[in-house]
Symmetry: C2
Subunit: 208 residues, 2 copies
DNA sequence: AATTCCGGAGAACAGTTGTTAACTGCATGG
DNA sequence: CCATGCAGTTAACAACTGTTCTCCGGAATT
């Protein structure tokens, strides 16, 4: 299946990746809808027209970025939901993993947070679809928990969505705290953990 | 106090308002960081240079839009938190009010959702500050509730933030459902209500 | 009634944008 | 080894951008 790409295609994917990375960096200070194609090629050190060999437009590039950014998030969600331990331990571990992910891929997180409600429809939809897949995955993990007994499918999906949204909010808060003092990070950690704890308590008493 | 503005200043505020409204409309299809000053003046039917009489830049205009958009939201929050009745009634009423607000000011909601994490720092900060004020207000309302007995200040702020974020998420969902079928709006209504209900349950058992 | 103030218009600027066409050189497949 | 394919280049285009300076006309002030 995985042919060792020819020299030709290898070089192509290399500049394609360079374009994506340059775009991600430029997007730290603006939104996708204002990102110019020339701006990106200039940052890479390539002719403007080379852009068209890889993407039809910056919109197109944005959609590709969604896959890349949320692709890196996918394994993390798996790790979080498959963590063992009691409720508090799992929450602490989840927040910790989120913080670490933001440290590792800050521009990915920024891009998703920014473009989730951004000005480019196809990108918004790509993010929405991808997040819906995450939510389904979280829901599937919740079903296996004995606590899920008696829960309707709809309610489980609601809970999963609540968790996913909280994770995104937490990630966004960690991002803002990235260049701040360590104490700010600690504050965010505690806040996010307490939010998740309250949701877990609500979950435990949902069927009362 | 309220002088009837001179003809001069009245006309000025009129075109200023026209600029804000035109910008808000243009921002339905893009982000603030890609909004051009000429674009706005063209939509109003005024010379590009007239823009400078009112704003230093589109960033400046964006900050002004934050006040306008969240100003309209302020009284709604007051209404929600001051509503009487048991938990379920209050939740139903709150979701209803949110839906109605989105119907009345869709572009305001869109602007806030989009620029909360958007590419223009001063605007992000203005939104963050304004939302923090809302959260404080919600917290102040929560304190008056007998259920708040034994709660720490920090936990109350956490809960208030949770509520505010959920309201914003609900508003954003209603916005997406605006041009969709009625059944989609109903789905969002039920989803938002159940989310708030779960949070309220968690709140009721927080001190266990 | 004369003077100042000021919101807006007009023209011009240098710089940027997306897109087109025709090209070059090198890896690829016959 | 030769012919084809194709990633990237070069040059040029019309259209657009933010910003400056100069000016106009009418409201505001005295």
């Amino acid at each position: 299946m995985s042919h060792t790409l020819g020299l030709r295609q290898a070089q192509k994917q290399k500049t394609r990746q360079a374009l994506l990375e340059a775009a991600l960096e430029l997007l730290e200070g603006q939104s996708l809808s204002s990102l110019g194609l020339r701006e990106v090629t200039r940052a890479v050190g390539v002719a403007p027209t080379a852009f068209y060999r890889h993407f039809r437009s910056t919109e197109d590039l944005g959609v590709a970025l969604v896959e890349e950014a949320l692709g890196s998030l996918h394994p993390m969600i798996r790790t979080i939901v498959s963590t063992a331990g009691d409720s508090d331990e799992r929450i602490t571990r989840a927040v910790e993993l989120i913080a670490r992910h933001v440290d590792a891929y800050p521009s990915h997180v920024r891009f998703i947070a920014r473009e989730q409600h951004g000005g480019v429809r196809p990108v918004r939809e790509a993010i929405r679809n991808e997040l819906a897949r995450f939510t389904e995955e979280v829901k599937a993990a919740l079903v296996t928990d004995p606590m899920a007994e008696g829960w309707s499918d709809d309610d489980l999906l609601m809970l999963a969505g609540l968790y996913v949204d909280q994770m995104l909010i937490a990630a966004s808060l960690f991002l803002e705290a990235l260049e701040g003092p360590e104490e700010e990070r600690q504050r965010v950690t505690r806040l996010a953990a307490r939010r998740l704890r309250l949701i877990s308590i609500g979950r435990a008493h949902w069927l009362d």
